[in-house]
Amino acid sequence: MNCIIIDDEKMARSILKTLCNEIKLLTVIGEYSNAIEAIKFLNDNKVDLIFLDIHMPDFNGFDFVETLKYKTKVVLITSDDQLAIKAFKYLNIVDYLLKPLSLDSLEKSIEKIKMLDVDSNTGSKTLEKKKNHESDYIFVNINHRLIRLTINEINIIQSDKNYILITTDTETHKVNISLKKIQQRLPLKSFFRVHKSYIVNLNKIVDIEDRTIVIQKNVVPIGNKYWMNLKNRLNLI
């Protein structure tokens, strides 16, 4: 996979180049300190992947993406964690990595790109199509990576000191955010606070017994204070 790096900071370019050298699949064929130089290169050359800084003087990363003639895949590299939603409005922005970069986050990103390639080659429902429905997702910051979680796949959210644990059908993510804040980002229709430490996806409840909720193999307690509200909310016959 041929790639180029665009970042006005030499340090950032060097770090990324060092990490790319650790990944066999990647070959860095150019590095640019500004977008104009990169555009000139891309007018005559095709690359598979562009690592792009968002904040650059004169010409920001999003301006650059809009000028791309071919919809080359772009991975944004930035210290700014506030632009993920905007980033994923662009079909060719496939990932969003936060500085300082680690080999682990870069490897995961490349894995994700490989998966996207497989999806599009097999004609299956691609992630690009899903990107049009941004409300179907939330982005959470996990170890300097903004991970996109499909809201429907979230089962339980549990507070754990300064963190929350988000349990999906297949895994649990530890995220540094409060339960209150995550609740504000989830659709009220499906997610309900059932305990001071728990929010559940109502669509995933299997049964309720003795003031506990069963979702998959997990048992969630229902707090006294939340019980009446939950009963009112559920379609009780």
Binding site: E9, M11, S14, I15, T18, H55
Partner: protein, 105 residues
């Protein structure tokens, strides 16, 4: 106050001294330049430019393992975008600490 360190750079270099030295040399060159641009933009009272320069310096702060200072820089950058200089003094203390540390490298 936390102290700058090379933990992240050592992790990246994975024992390769040429990589480590290259990254250190870049910090030694880039940091003073970025610091200079920061103070210049401050003199011009150009909040957009100050924020851009803080943003760039913020990355160096994280590379040198200063996680609390990184939060300060982030807050300062945010304040600058709201045209406030709150946390300026704290931010500049970080710059001084890094300047002293770089002299030892």
């Amino acid at each position: 106050m936390e102290k700058p360190n090379l933990i992240y750079i050592n992790q990246l270099a994975r024992g390769d001294n040429s990589i480590k030295n290259e990254l250190i040399n870049i910090i030694k060159t880039e940091f003073p330049e970025e610091k200079k641009y920061y103070f210049e933009s401050l003199q011009q009272n150009n909040f957009k430019k100050i924020a851009e320069n803080v943003h760039r310096l913020k990355h160096k702060i994280s590379i040198l393992g200063l996680s609390n200072s990184y939060k300060v820089a982030k807050e300062f950058e945010h304040n600058l975008r709201e045209h406030s200089l709150e946390r300026k003094q704290d931010f500049e203390k970080i710059l001084i600490a890094i300047t002293h540390y770089i002299e030892t490298l």
